[in-house]
């Protein structure tokens, strides 16, 4: 496309660096994605919520020259075609620029993940999701540049886009803008295709609406009408987001049809999804070491299995400890984490009640006492509990019934 000529001017490179830096900054606010190729692109998209308004500002800044009334007049031709091509080329130019920046961030994320022994397949859905906020933000920036072709339209574009994203999120609408950055376990989950398609359609409608406003602005050169049209487009974004939200129920993921686990060890047994099993032997050995004080105290761990969670809403079968995503197989996991992962050995009903119950409080107290006991054992210091009391507490946790006297007469360290 000839509109892409001159894409890499000094100003556009500066904008690209600012956008990619913001995107990258959000990426490294967490480390739980490192090592999991199935989750890395999802988290790499998290930065777009912050960075896409910046690309809206960059769009307004970089395209304002092309959309100035003088240049539009020079390039104006017969019919609506020239106006459409003027806007389309400005938008495509910015989308390409933003995609290059985000692709660089995605590549860095995948390389870092791969460097730390990544396992699993790379999903394609996050790459489609990434296009949505980028295309909408670029359309908003181009529309504002077409209405006000001045430097300050870029600031206005940033504020407007942040404002719109914020309204869309707090109104529970959904959310072609608020994509990526899931913090729940993705083990056993897959992207829900219907949600992806609905949000893609919503993003396309919003983008097309703002681009239409931009075409009308360069065509009609009528400031009040263009401004009104822009306000209508903003309303359209929220409306479309709300309608789309009603059809997706916010469910970006759904349980995978089939999840294959690979297990290792016994007392306890460790099971990780195949995609996340690259460090299974290492994790199994670490959990065996962490469980040793419990076994020495006489806790029966033969029937215990630690398994990666299937995600929210899934049943937690008794006899299995469901691990949070990256809880034991991510980077930066400490010996203490391995030990503490053993301390919810049953899926007690009290863990899932709306209002905390006294039993829940006692379950947590018992787990806390055992955590301190395990830490003391590992550190070789004198624990506050006897081994017998530790075994009793663990058995009570497994039975989901911790008596008051079992936790009340212990003086925690």
């Amino acid at each position: 496309m000839r509109g892409l000529r001159g894409l890499f001017s000094r100003a556009s490179l500066i904008c690209l660096i600012v956008f990619a830096s913001a995107d990258l900054l959000v990426l490294f606010t967490r480390s739980t994605w490192i090592g999991f190729l199935g989750y890395t692109p999802e988290w790499a998209n998290a930065g777009l919520y912050v960075a896409s308004p910046l690309i809206a500002g960059a769009s307004a800044f970089l395209t304002r020259v092309y959309l100035s009334p003088e240049l539009v007049a020079i390039t104006r031709g017969r019919g609506l075609g020239p106006s459409i091509r003027t806007i389309a080329s400005a938008w495509v130019r910015m989308v390409v620029l933003a995609l290059i920046g985000h692709a660089a961030v995605m590549l860095i994320a995948l390389l870092v993940s791969a460097f730390f022994g990544a396992s699993g397949a790379i999903p394609w859905a996050p790459f489609v999701y990434a296009v949505m906020p980028i295309s909408m933000a670029c359309a908003i920036g181009v529309a504002l540049a077409a209405i006000f072709p001045h430097v300050w339209s870029s600031g206005l574009a940033i504020l407007t886009t942040y404002g719109l994203w914020y309204v869309v999120v707090i109104s529970d609408a959904a959310i072609p803008a608020n994509i990526g950055g899931a913090t729940i376990s993705l083990a056993g989950l897959q992207y829900r295709l219907s949600t992806l398609l609905i949000l893609l359609a919503a993003a396309a409608v919003v983008t097309a609406t703002f681009l239409t406003v931009a075409v009308l602005a360069v065509r009609r050169q009528s400031f009040p009408r263009s401004l009104t049209a822009f306000a209508v487009a903003c309303f359209c974004l929220v409306l479309v987001g709300t309608v789309a939200g009603g059809h997706t129920s916010g469910a970006t993921f759904e349980p995978s049809q089939q999840v294959d686990f690979v297990c290792e060890g016994s007392a306890p047994r460790i099971c990780l999804t195949v995609d996340h099993s690259a460090r299974l032997s290492e994790v199994a050995a670490a959990v065996q070491r962490a469980a040793q004080p419990l076994r020495d105290a006489g806790v029966d761990m033969e029937t215990l299995t630690l398994r990666e969670g299937w995600g929210e809403g899934q049943a937690h079968p008794d006899g299995e400890l469901l691990l949070g995503f990256g809880q034991l197989n991510g980077i930066g996991v400490t010996e203490s984490d391995y030990a503490h992962a053993l301390l919810q050995p049953a899926s007690c009903a009290d863990y899932f009640v709306e209002e905390p119950t006294p039993q829940l409080e006692r379950l947590f107290t018992a787990a806390q006492l055992l955590a301190e006991w395990l830490d003391a054992k590992r550190a070789g210091t004198e624990p506050s509990l006897t081994d017998d009391r530790a075994r009793e507490l663990y058995d009570a946790l497994r039975a989901c019934s911790v008596d008051e006297e079992l936790v009340d007469d212990v003086d925690p360290q």
Binding site: R2, G3, R5, G6, L7, F8, S9, R10, A11, S12, V65, Y66, S68, P69, E70, L71, A73, I74, T75, R76, G77, R78, G81, P82, R85, T86, S89, R219, R220, Q221
Partner: protein
């Protein structure tokens, strides 16, 4: 190229309750009409109004014959920024593509040659002089072979040499076209225009040839005639 006329009948333009143009009328066919007048006399507004009439209905301005397809109007505004990252050739090709020229490269090459930009074609617009930028704008106007040229002070802000080049280019492009150009510079009007329209405070003060302007005012030079026609206006 067919005969394309611009007919302005009783054009009045008001912006925010201020009358910029009042009852302006003239007709131009296949000739060069110069618009002269002091700052704020409505020269640019007149050209913009004609340009807008090409794509937006305006009963006071008629361009071409209603029986024929919409005429192409090329408009070069006064003072414009250009994308500094593009080369001269890239920008002219971009303009040709935007205007849906069937042969983008060929039309751009032709326009670049017509605007005498061959030596600058691969220079970035951020690194060219004001005169070359102005000629790049002109080349972009020429890419779809417009029937009508509207040039708003095309030689203002450039050095004497560039002004001479620009005049040469306009003179070469004018035959067979209807051209309306505004200028403060008497030499431009004298060398390029068949007739001149003098505007004062948005109203037509004089319409006729350069010789007629001199004769009417009794001045020897066009500069003197223009000063005389606009006397008393600040």
């Amino acid at each position: 190229m067919g005969r394309t006329c611009v007919e302005v009948r009783g054009l009045t333009v008001s912006i925010q309750r201020r009358t910029i143009l009042e009852e302006v009328s003239f007709s131009v066919c296949d000739e060069v009409l110069g618009i002269a007048g002091p700052n704020g006399s409505g020269k640019s507004t007149l050209l913009r109004s004609i340009e807008r009439a090409a794509w937006r209905q305006n009963d006071a301005v008629r361009i071409g014959d209603p029986a024929m397809t919409a005429p192409r109007v090329g408009y070069l505004p006064q003072g414009f920024d250009m994308p500094k990252g593009m080369t001269v050739r890239e920008f002219v090709e971009y303009a040709a593509w935007i205007k849906n020229s069937a042969t983008v490269r060929a039309s751009a090459a032709e326009a670049i040659e017509a605007a005498q930009l061959g030596a600058f074609a691969d220079r970035r617009l951020g690194h060219v002089s004001g005169g070359v930028a102005q000629r790049t704008g002109f080349a972009s106007v020429l890419v779809d072979a417009p029937d009508v040229l509207l040039l708003d002070e095309p030689t203002t802000g450039v050095d004497i040499h560039q002004r001479e080049v620009m005049r040469e280019i306009i003179a070469a492009q004018s035959p067979g076209r209807t051209t309306i150009l505004s200028s403060h510079i008497a030499e431009d009007l004298e060398q390029l225009c068949d007739r001149i329209l003098v505007l004062v405070k948005g109203r037509p003060r004089f319409l006729g040839s350069v010789d007629e302007a001199r004769a009417e005012t009794g001045e020897e030079t066009l500069s003197g005639a223009l000063l005389s026609l606009t006397a008393g206006v600040e």
